[in-house]
């Protein structure tokens, strides 16, 4: 049971670690380029705010992934619904954050 659970939960646990790592790079080292790429990091509207907000949002997704890993022990169905909803919320929050502090969108109709 334990082994089978671990093999099932390996992916969400791994994702929690990876996302946690990126969140740390943003929140502690203020390394925007780790997620935007070398060029886009220079084009942000407000770099400081972007770093803080994107770091928090990635931490939020990492938490969602961790919750999924826990839920997988009880019900895979619940775990999938949870991560899907969490991801949609994350996407909406990310869009808001990016519009406020991220790369200016040249395609927007005036």
């Amino acid at each position: 049971m334990g082994n089978s659970y671990l093999s099932n939960a390996m992916i969400p646990l791994m994702m929690t670690l990876v996302l946690g790592y990126y969140a740390a790079r943003l929140l502690i080292f203020h390394d925007t380029e780790s997620i935007t790429g070398k060029d886009n990091g220079k084009k942000l509207k407000d770099k400081e705010k972007y770093v803080a907000e994107s770091g928090k949002l990635i931490l939020f997704l990492a938490a969602g992934s961790f919750v999924m890993a826990i839920l997988m022990y009880f019900s895979v169905h619940a775990a999938v619904v949870e991560i899907a909803v969490w991801f949609v919320v994350f996407g909406i929050l990310w869009k808001r954050m990016n519009d406020k502090y991220g790369t200016p969108n040249s395609h927007k109709k005036k």
Partner: protein, 328 residues
């Protein structure tokens, strides 16, 4: 117009990894007589076939300076869907006991459409919500894995109809049907990359997305199509793998996305975007698969093989970034 002569340093920076790997393959061929045999080469070609399909899908994403970490899980999902639709009627553990096996091409279409739908969602998150590709695709990886676990109840599938497994065992002009499918996919992808407006848009986005938008490139639509197309290709790869293995499980395709990204990088698809060809993916996959076979023939320990492959990926990506900095 004279051709610019490449210096030794430039040759090593551009082709160093490939040269060293080819040397190793030649060395293995000389020291291990069983390495270059028709049987072994046929086997490597069959393995290369679905690896190439995955690499071509990922190459499109990498050219736009993105990536797709959901590829491996999508392959597993595609393989499992195909498996459930193509089991023999008399198989004792049949997934849908009362359902007749579908026509294999219809099953392939179903697999590719379902996977493309997931790719469409990933593309939407990247294009419209501006979520970085590695985060979107990683989240999609989890979702697809979960859905696949629920769909199959985490049980392995087998007992396929002979028409399906015949794709791997059957041959045309001495080559497995899987190889012919890969060749066909390669030709179609080459056409899309080089002869269509969509291909030009893809390179423009990879070069400079802001400039591409200003120039009127439909960036969002193009990105969505790229990720949906890539996902459909992972579905196809899963279908091909299922035929070769004669079975599938949730674990099918585990870690293949990393190897596909590595193969693309080794072949010359730039992780910084805007550069890469079908031939780059082909060279990368060929070198990578022959190298893995060579390491096995040389009797290298399985864990040491992972280390060797990791070192190669690290060097290839470092050289690629160095080339990018030099270009700037």
């Amino acid at each position: 117009m004279g051709k610019k002569k490449l210096s030794f340093k430039e040759i090593m920076t551009n082709y160093g990894v490939i040269i060293i790997m080819v040397c190793l393959i030649v060395f293995t061929g000389i020291t291990r007589p069983n390495f270059i045999t028709t049987n072994n080469l046929t086997n490597i070609l069959a393995t290369m076939s679905f690896r190439l399909v995955i690499a071509l899908g990922i190459a499109g994403c990498i050219i736009t300076a993105g990536c797709d970490l959901s590829a491996g899980r999508m392959i597993g999902f595609g393989g499992c869907i195909a498996g459930t639709l193509l089991q023999k009627m008399d198989y004792s553990a049949k997934f849908y006991p009362d359902m007749k096996p579908l026509n294999i091409w219809l099953a392939l279409l179903v697999v590719m459409l379902i996977c493309a739908a997931f790719g469409l969602v990933t593309g939407f998150f990247i294009a419209y919500l501006n979520v970085p590709p590695f985060i979107s695709t990683m989240a999609m990886m989890e979702i697809v894995y979960g859905i696949c676990s629920i769909y199959t109840n985490a049980t392995p599938l087998g007992g396929y109809v002979s028409e399906y497994t015949g794709l791997a065992t059957g041959k045309f002009l001495g080559m497995s049907y899987l190889v012919w499918i890969a060749i066909l996919v390669g030709v179609i992808t080459w056409f899309i990359f080089n002869m269509t407006r969509h291909g030009k848009y893809m390179y423009a986005i990879g070069g400079n997305p802001q400039a591409a938008e200003v120039a009127g490139v439909p960036v969002k639509k193009t990105l969505i199509i790229i990720y949906a197309k890539a996902a459909a290709m992972y579905g196809l790869a899963g279908f091909m793998m299922g035929a070769k293995a004669g079975g599938a499980s949730v674990q099918l395709g585990y870690g293949y996305e990393m190897e596909a990204i590595a193969a693309c990088t080794i072949g010359g698809v730039s992780v910084t975007g805007g550069r890469g060809k079908v031939s780059s993916a082909l060279v990368g996959v060929a070198v990578f698969e022959f190298l893995k076979a060579a390491l096995q023939f040389l009797g290298v320990n399985a864990y040491a093989q992972y280390i060797a492959l990791g070192v190669i990926i690290f060097i290839a990506i470092s050289l690629d970034i160095r080339k990018y900095i030099a270009r700037k």
